[in-house]
Structures are given as C-alpha cells and as structure tokens.
C-alpha cells in the first residue's frame, strides 16, 4: 500500500465514517469502542504504523515511575518519540498557571536488530527550556561503534551500521548533555534499506527448449533430416512447409527455470547464425491459448486486483474449459454498454454479438436518457444525466466476457458471446414493464430459437409480479438459464427477480468468502459468488475487496474506457452467469433443471466438500473448477489443481503455508511432475515434489521471508508447477506476501483527548473537556460523558456545543500537547480541523482519527503552507488552585489513565 493510499484509507475510515455521526447519524463505524449509553462522544484513535514511545518519558515519570533500568526493545523499523533530561527541574510559569516539574532521565537505551548499512535517525526538539545537545550512540555490547552529537535543534543526525559489522542485535543510546530537557524522534528509514529487489516478468512467455524454425531451401522432411544440423535441434512437428517446431538437444542444461529460459534464448541465437536457417524464434505461448491469468489486472504485482477469480477457483475452470465459453451467448440485461455498436469498450467489442438483433434497448421514455426516448435498437449506455455513473452494465459484462487481449483484465467466460440488452436507464433505474418486455423478447419467437442461453440480471428491488414469473418460466422452458443479484439491503426480504422460481439467486461474499456486509440472505438464496466489500480486506492483499472490471470514467471532459472496482450483488451474479457459460460450452444441453440438480447435489460448490444449504450462501460459494468438471462429464484430461488456489502470507497472519495439489479429471490418473519453482526472494520453497515424481496428490510448503519485503507493501508471485499429463502443462499458484508491522505493538504514549473551544482566545485554545487513554492493541479508545449539570463538572463531561477534537501526548510534561516532538491527532485529519457538534441526548459515536509524530506543518516542503506560527500546542486543563474544585478527586493528568 502506498503512502497515499494509506492516507486515503485512514481518511476513509476516520473522516467520512465520522462525518456521518457528527450530525446525529449515531451509527458506529465498527470496531470496539465504548457503549453509547450515556455517552456524549466516543471514538477510537488509530496509531500510525511502526509507532513506539519512550517508556520513560516525562509524562510517564510524572506518574511516579522510575527511569527504565534496562534497554527498551524496538522492532527493526520504527518511529519513536522520547524525552531525556540530565536533571530534574521546573518549567517557567505559563499564563496564570504554574510551571510543571520535569524529571531527570539522562539517558534512554534501546535494543534492536540492525541490518548492514541500516540507518537510524534522530531529530531533536527543544522544550520551552531551550536547546541542549543530544548524543546518539550505536553500540555493540559495551563497544561504541559510532557516536554523533546534534549541533542545533533543526538538523537530524544519523548513525549507521557500517559494512564491517554484521547484522544483528545492537544498542542505541540517546544521552542528554545540556541543562535543558529535550524531546527527540528516533526513526529508521525503510527507504534506505538495500533489500529492494524487483522481479521482472518477461513480456512474452515462451516454451522452454523449443523454437519455431523457418528453413531455407526446404524440400521435404526427408531431405531436411539429411541436411540440417540435427545435433543442434530435434524436429518435433512440421507446422507448415519449411516451418518446423524444433526441440533443443536434451543435453541443454536446465538446472533452474531462469537458466532454462536463458539457455533456450542462447540456443535460439545459435540457430539464427546457421546458414541453413532463415529464422528461429521462441515458441511464444500464443495469445489464443491465454486465459485471464495472463492479463495485467490479474497477474501484475502492482495492479493485480482480480482476487475474485481465484476465490472462485476459476483458473482450474479455464484449464478444463479452454474455450472460455465460446459458442455460448449471454444476455446482460442492464444499463447497456459503454461505446457504440461496432465500437464498444475495447475489452468487450470482440465478444459482442454481431450484428445485434433488433430491439436491444427496452428502456421506456420515463427512464430513458439516451437522447432517443423510448425503446430502440441501440443498447449503448449514455451514462447518467444526474451524476456520473460507472457504466454498470459494462462492469457486469466485463466480469462475464471481457476478452483476453493483453490489457486490463478479462472475463471468466472470456470467449463467450455477449448480448447487451438495455433495461435500466437514468441512474440505473427502470421499470418492471421494460424488464418484462425484454424477458419475453429474449425467449425468442415461438417458432424460433431463444436469443441467449443465459440471462444475467444484476438488478432488483421489484416486488413479486406474476407476469415476470411467467416470462421467466417460459424462458426456462425454452432452455434459458436466469441468474440474478440477491440485492444489497442486508436483509432476508426476498428481492425479485432473484427470488423468482427458476432463477439462480446469488448472494455476495468478500475476499475471504464471507457474506458481504451488504448482501441479502435468506432461504431463497441459491448460491454465492464474489461481490466485493470495500470495508474489508478479507484476502489480506492490502486492498479493499472490490470487484474489478471494465468501466468508463470522465477524463478531460470526455468519457473514456477504464477499469474500476465496485461492490454489490450486481458484481456477484455475473460470476455465476459466466461459470454457467463455461459449463454450457462443455455441455450445451445443460438447462436450469440440470444445473439446479448439480447445485443441490454439491457438484458446483465448496471444493472437495459438500455444503449444506445456508441462508447466507445458499448451497455455498461457487467453485468454477468443480463446476466445469461436472459439466464436462467424461471428457476431461487430467489437470493439476491447488488448494488453496491462492496463498496469502503475512507477518500478522500465517508465515508458512501448505498447498495441496490434486488431479482434476474425469478419471484422475497419475501425472508426472516436471518442475516446481519459486523465484521471488521473499518466498522460500520448503518442500515440493521433484522432477519425475508421479501420482495424483502432492504437497508444497512455502515460507515467507519477511526481511526481504518492504514493510507494509504487498508483493505477489507465483509458485510454478510444470507437469505432464496428456501433455506438458503448467499450474501457477499465486502467492501474496506482506510484511505487516505488529499493529498491536504500536504505542505513541498516553494520549490526552481534548474538546476545545473552536474560537481561540488570541493564539490559545481553551480546553473545555479532557480525558486520557493508553494504547491497547495499537489503538486508543476514548469517551466523553454528557454534562449532567452537577457541580463540580468532571473533566470528561462535556456540555452541548461546537468543539474541536484533538488528542496527543505530553512527553515533556509541560502541560501542552501536540507541539513538535509529541504525537498529535486532530479530528478529522491533523492540520484539517473540523468542528464536532455535541447535542443533548444525541451521542456522537464512532469517531475515528489517527495520531502521529508527523504532521502537515512539519512535513510540508514549504514553510507557511499550513502556518500555525503562534501555535504552541493545546493546553491541558490544570488544577485551579484558587477554585477549590477537586474534579472528582482525580488529578487532571490521571483522568482516564487507567483505560
């Protein structure tokens, strides 16, 4: 995840979820937080990755703790704020308040593992006592490796593990040498590490040890064998007159996959130098043989997003049904397609039925916005009049039938025929009458054929209408299979057309195969498929679980084709329609009754198991491989399949994984392993079958090597298995690796959470209410109580009004939070304060923000972009010695400290 996307994620979960609650929504954004009963305001403060805090800062020492006697352990990558002072003392009085005491803590010692060449930086920050130098030392045991002193309070200093030292455990010391107490931030920089290694995928894969050779002066194969240098190549197949598929000599070294590729290229270069040969080229794996696995949107480490295909076990289905659904026509009754007849979205154009039958636009005038009011012959999606859309029908159609073309992604039935039928108009809305007309139309004339074999209906919201049921029953009687989205109301209420008899109702799951938070469910659900869930990352790939497919977006004033991630049962239904298309390409006779029987007898879902029917997933999550096998009957050769079909490893999840390989086939027999390889430096192949092993079941185990990964970044690679059944085949098992900093260890120090008056007095903000919290599982939870009117008012009681919500540490114990060198969070985003309104009897819950040592005013390249020239921090509520109030008998700095 990039820094920007992290920021965006933080924003998403903090700002906007909370904006809802600010105005009385009252809903929680999830996660655990205090119950809302008798709460005025509550929420959670997240902590940025890698954040740690000095265990004996001044604020901690003020609560009677003693300086640490042993080194504080740190992870390899971190950012830590700390405090040192050579002696104790008292800060000067500020305004009407007496200065706080600061304790002595002359040295902080840390223990951590360092890599060779790894840097550790120290940024000093003065307290209001002025600047004192700091000394940063790197030690191995008692041996000093490097010592650096700060010259001023601006420039950071750095120590580095020299090349003469070996990676391992070292000690860092931060020592105060002047009279004034000092704050500092100590950090590592992952960007400086030398482990960044990129694995470059070849542009075009080719078959090892094979070449296509064009011969000069070719007469026939007999003369060829007598004149050609056969010690350099072995004829395998004559492709055309004078064009031969040649094999390399068997003695060519093949000690690894990479060397095999390189030796093949070297061999081809040798052939090209021979006078008898006009040309020799690699035997490129043909486009025609490619599947959606070869598309960037699926396999690119940077943009690979089609997790939903793996969850569906689609890769094995593509092996069993290499035709990609060719010969099967699917009608997508939706908003139409982006583009125009003959020039549709480039991912779809090749597969759209040509010519289109007449009458493909059924949108009546009331809903129509295509400039030609009422039904017509053009199913183009004009977008929305009000608010830009996402070409809903284009997205749905892409999941079904986007072509394999080396760009973007591809659909599951990537060679099927697509019949766009427009029944939804402005904003994705339409009428039951239009749908009824379309359903009758697609069934075809009574003396003719239906216009499609499968109809996808990613629409809903209709009540039961007998006419629609009749139209569907009639279509089914003519062999049409109907698939519909279950709806997104997260309820059991039957949604039509999905709930009609003889329609496959599809619920949606996220990347972990769990029912999506929005999906409808109930005993009327037939089957589940990936629909995505933006609020989850169920497959731990570092991205929201959206379903990626073809779309269109407004760019530079014109609508252009693109890909986009969406979520909804609209996205789940086309997965089922497309798998049915693959099945019907293998067995055209399959109809609703047969498919339904297969579904109910466990032949289409749940991998090697048989699922009982549930209200959430119906008969279970669709398994495309199993479905294709069921459809193929006795005609399937042996294929190797992996379980799980995708491996996710992370430092916060599983570090190792075992993958079971088993043979798929009508009558599974032994296959022979040719090779098993892994090329990513961050993945270790622990065990695997070796070349020549034969059987029907194999096991592979792999282990994540986190030190070879950049923290927080997901990487992707494949375990490649080459095997021989009826021919040489290849299975690629995607592996996602992620090195996640231990979130539970994040700690930015005790946080004071303040509600302050938005109107400053001069350059000072007045704190109205205050609480505090310590980090638990990498988060702070806080809550304020409504002011009950009783005096004295507790610090954490808040009267109705408008406030700014801030939180931060007071590491130097000067009674101010959020100044440089201390952690700070502002609602909703640091540097971008917005007001929160507290109303009587209207609790605001689910507030979320993130604390950090960095902030816009520090990180901005240009000083003054976000100026707060006189800002010294937010003032904690101090005891008013003259007031006599005891605030419930609790010292302000300990309010909430027990949390």
């Amino acid at each position: 995840m990039t820094a920007n996307s992290r920021a965006a994620t933080v924003f998403r979960y903090s700002v906007l979820a909370v904006v809802a609650s600010l105005y009385g929504c009252g809903g929680s954004s999830g996660g655990s937080e205090p119950a809302s009963a008798n709460i005025a305001l509550s929420g959670i403060i997240d902590i940025e990755t890698g954040t740690r805090v000095d265990a004996d800062d001044a604020d901690t020492l003020a609560l009677s703790a003693s300086p640490l006697g042993s080194p504080q352990l740190l992870p390899q990558e971190f950012i830590l704020a700390g405090y040192v002072s050579i002696s104790d003392g008292t800060y000067p009085d500020r305004d009407e308040f007496p200065g706080n005491n600061y304790p002595a803590d002359p040295v902080d010692t840390f223990s951590m593992t360092l890599r060779e060449g790894q840097n550790v930086y120290l940024q000093p920050f003065s307290t209001n006592q002025g600047f004192s130098p700091l000394i940063l030392s790197l030690l191995s045991g008692s041996r000093v490796i490097e010592t650096v002193a700060t010259n001023n309070q601006v420039d950071p200093i750095r120590v580095s593990l020299p090349d003469t030292e070996t990676a391992g455990a070292y000690t860092l010391q931060v020592r105060a040498v002047g009279a004034a107490p000092m704050l500092y931030i100590l950090s590592t920089s992952a960007a400086d590490s030398a482990h960044a290694m990129a694995f470059e995928w070849p542009d075009h894969d080719f078959v090892d040890a094979e070449a296509i050779v064009v011969l000069k002066a070719y007469k026939d194969s007999v003369s060829m064998r007598s004149t050609m240098p056969l010690h350099l190549m072995e004829p395998k197949q004559e492709l055309a007159s004078g064009v031969w598929l040649m094999k390399a000599p068997s003695q060519m070294a093949r000690s690894s996959q990479a060397q095999s590729k390189e030796s093949t290229l070297a061999w081809i270069r040798t052939l090209n130098r021979r006078p008898e040969i006009a040309s020799a080229t690699p035997n490129y794996k043909m486009r025609a043989m490619q599947t959606p696995l070869d598309e960037p949107l699926y396999n690119s480490p940077s943009v690979g997003q089609q997790w939903h295909y793996e969850l569906l076990n689609a890769p094995i289905a593509w092996q069993i049904a290499p035709g990609g659904g060719s010969g099967v026509t699917l009608a997508v009754m939706d908003t139409g397609l982006f583009g125009a007849p003959g020039n549709w979205h480039s991912e779809l154009n090749a597969n759209v039925v040509q010519p289109l039958p007449e009458g493909t636009d059924f949108v009546s005038e009331e809903f129509d916005n295509d400039g030609v009011p009422g039904p017509d012959n053009n199913p183009s999606d004009p977008g929305n009049v009000v608010g830009s859309g996402v070409s809903h029908g284009t997205h749905v159609a892409g999941t079904i039938a986007a072509a394999v073309n080396g760009a973007g992604g591809a659909g599951i039935a990537y060679k099927s025929s697509l019949l766009p039928v427009r029944v939804l108009g402005e904003g994705g809305t339409g009428s039951s009458a239009d749908l009824l007309a379309a359903l009758r139309w697609v069934a075809g004339p009574s003396d003719g054929e239906p216009l499609a074999e499968i109809v996808n209906l990613s629409l809903g919201g209709l009540p039961f209408l007998q006419q629609l049921q009749d139209a569907i029953s009639y279509g089914t009687s003519r062999g049409i299979v109907f698939v519909a989205a279950a709806g997104n109301s997260a309820s059991t209420l039957a949604s039509y057309p999905a709930a009609f008899d003889k329609v496959f109702a599809v619920s949606a799951v996220d990347g972990a195969g769990v029912l999506a938070s929005y999906s409808n469910y109930g005993d009327w659900i037939d089957v589940a498929a990936p629909g995505g869930d933006a609020s989850r990352d169920g497959n731990a790939d570092g991205r929201s679980d959206l379903v990626s497919s073809s779309s269109a977006a407004l760019v530079n004033g014109t609508v252009q084709e693109t890909y986009i991630g969406l979520q909804g049962t609209s996205m789940a239904a086309p997965h089922v329609s497309a798998v049915f298309a693959l099945m019907k390409s293998l067995n055209p006779a399959l109809n609703y009754e047969q498919l339904n029987n297969m579904l109910m007898t466990g032949k289409l879902t749940c991998g090697s198991e048989t699922c009982p029917k549930s209200t959430e997933l119906g008969w279970g999550l669709l398994d495309a491989g199993k479905s294709a096998l069921a459809a193929a009957g006795a005609t399937v050769s042996d294929f190797l399949t992996a379980s799980p079909s995708i491996v996710s490893l992370s430092t916060e999840g599983e570090l190792s994984a075992s993958v079971s390989l088993s043979v798929y086939g009508s009558a599974p027999g032994d296959i022979i392993i040719e090779s098993v390889s892994v090329v990513a430096p961050w993945l270790r192949l622990d065990s695997a079958p070796v070349s020549g092993d034969s059987g029907t079941d194999f096991g592979i185990s792999v282990t994540l090597l986190p030190e070879a990964l950049e923290a927080g970044i997901s990487e992707r690679t494949n375990i490649v298995v080459e095997y021989r059944s009826d021919e040489l085949r290849r299975l690629e098992i995607p592996v996602i690796g992620q090195r996640v900093t231990d979130q539970q260890a994040r700690d930015a120090g005790r946080h004071f959470v303040l509600l302050v008056d938005p109107e400053p007095t001069g350059d000072r903000y007045t704190t109205v209410a205050q609480t505090s919290a310590v980090a638990e599982n990498g988060q702070y939870q806080f809550s304020f109580l409504p002011d009950d009117g009783e005096m004295p008012r507790m610090l954490n009681e808040v009267p109705p009004g408008d406030y700014i919500l801030v939180a931060g540490t007071d590491l130097d114990n000067d009674g101010l939070i959020c100044h440089a060198g201390e952690a700070c969070a502002e609602y909703p985003v640091a540097g971008l304060r917005e007001e929160i309104t507290i109303r009587q009897g209207d609790p605001v819950t689910g507030v979320r923000m993130t604390t950090s040592y960095s902030r816009p005013s520090i990180s901005a390249a240009t000083p003054g972009v976000l100026p707060r020239p006189a800002f010294i921090g937010y003032r904690l509520i101090q005891q008013q010695p003259e007031s006599g109030e005891d605030n419930g008998g609790t010292a302000p700095k300990t309010i909430g400290a027990e949390r």
């Binding site: 920007n4 920021a7 965006a8 994620t9 924003f11 998403r12 906007l16 979820a17 904006v19 809802a20 105005y23 009385g24 939706d334 009331e366 129509d368 916005n369 977008g383 929305n384 009049v385 009000v386 608010g387 830009s388 859309g389 996402v390 809903h392 939804l424 108009g425 904003g427 994705g428 809305t429 339409g430 009428s431 239009d434 749908l435 629409l459 809903g460 919201g461 209709l462 009540p463 989205a485 279950a486 997104n488 109301s489 933006a534 929201s544 977006a553 407004l554 014109t558 609508v559 986009i564 991630g565 969406l566 979520q567 909804g568 049962t569 609209s570 239904a573 985003v829 971008l832 976000l866």
Partner: protein
Amino acid sequence: MIAAYRKVLAGLPLVSLLVGCVWLVGCASSEPVKKESSAPMARQVTQSAHCGLTGPGLAYVHTSERLQELLELPAQNMAIQQLRQVDLAKEHLLFVTLGEKPTGGHSVSLGSAESEQSGNILRLSMAVRAPVPGTMVSQVITSPCVVIAVPATGLLEIRVSGVRESDLVVKL
C-alpha cells in the same frame, strides 16, 4: 423520469442546467448559482454516484493534499480533471455526500445558494433523489456526492440543507 424519483428535499427546484448535463458531452459542472444581484457564491463542479465516501456529511477541501486524499478512496469514480482544474487559491471545494447507498438511483445536486450576513454565511440547498420503493434498480453499492466550489475567502460558515434532517455546518 422525474416521477420515478421521490424527491427527498421538498420544495427545492432542481438546478435547471443539471438536466441534460449528460456526461457524454463532458458537461459535469454547472453555472454559478447566485443570489439575485449578488456575486456568484457557489457552483457545482461535478457529481458522481461513486465518490467512495462512506458517511453522509460534508468534507471541506482547501488544499491539493486533501483533495488528493479524497480522490484516492476505494470505489471512487469522479471527474478528477474537473476537480483539479479548480484554483484552490480562489475557490475551495465542498463535498456533500449521501454516504453509501445500496443501489443505483440515488443522487445529490446543488439546488440553490444564497448568502447571509454580508456574505459571511453561505446557505446551500441540496436536491436529493432516491428511487421510489419498488423501482427496478442496479444492485451496486453507490456513494453519491456533489462537489461544490465556494469562494476561498470571506466565508465564515457554510450551512447545507436537504441532506440530513438538520443543517450540516462547516465553520471556516
């Protein structure tokens, strides 16, 4: 088409030029909405059914960094170019969002704008649409919003009506 919608905000006229503003011709922004005989106070920059903003409310944008945060949200599809063309030194952006909706057919747009207190307070009235129950709709999760450009200086408060039962307020 209008009859198919339940206009949540009663009594607010839809800005006329939103009708017919089909994206195919690149028309996603409106003319400035202004009070009679006063300077333009607000203009609609763009709308989207997929803003990626999960909660209903307001998001005020006065820096390019903040705008970038909003443009990188998951499940977002907006006219990015039009938003980036706004000169944030002269105009700030206000995202008015309905939050996540379970289907297509929801939208929000700028109805009217007027100023109070010598231009210190800007009142924006929004027109919100939702499909009538029983209407056939696409089953995709949407997050409708509208982005409105407001003057970068001079405003102390923006009050937005029509999205929630009570006004949404941004104090500047």
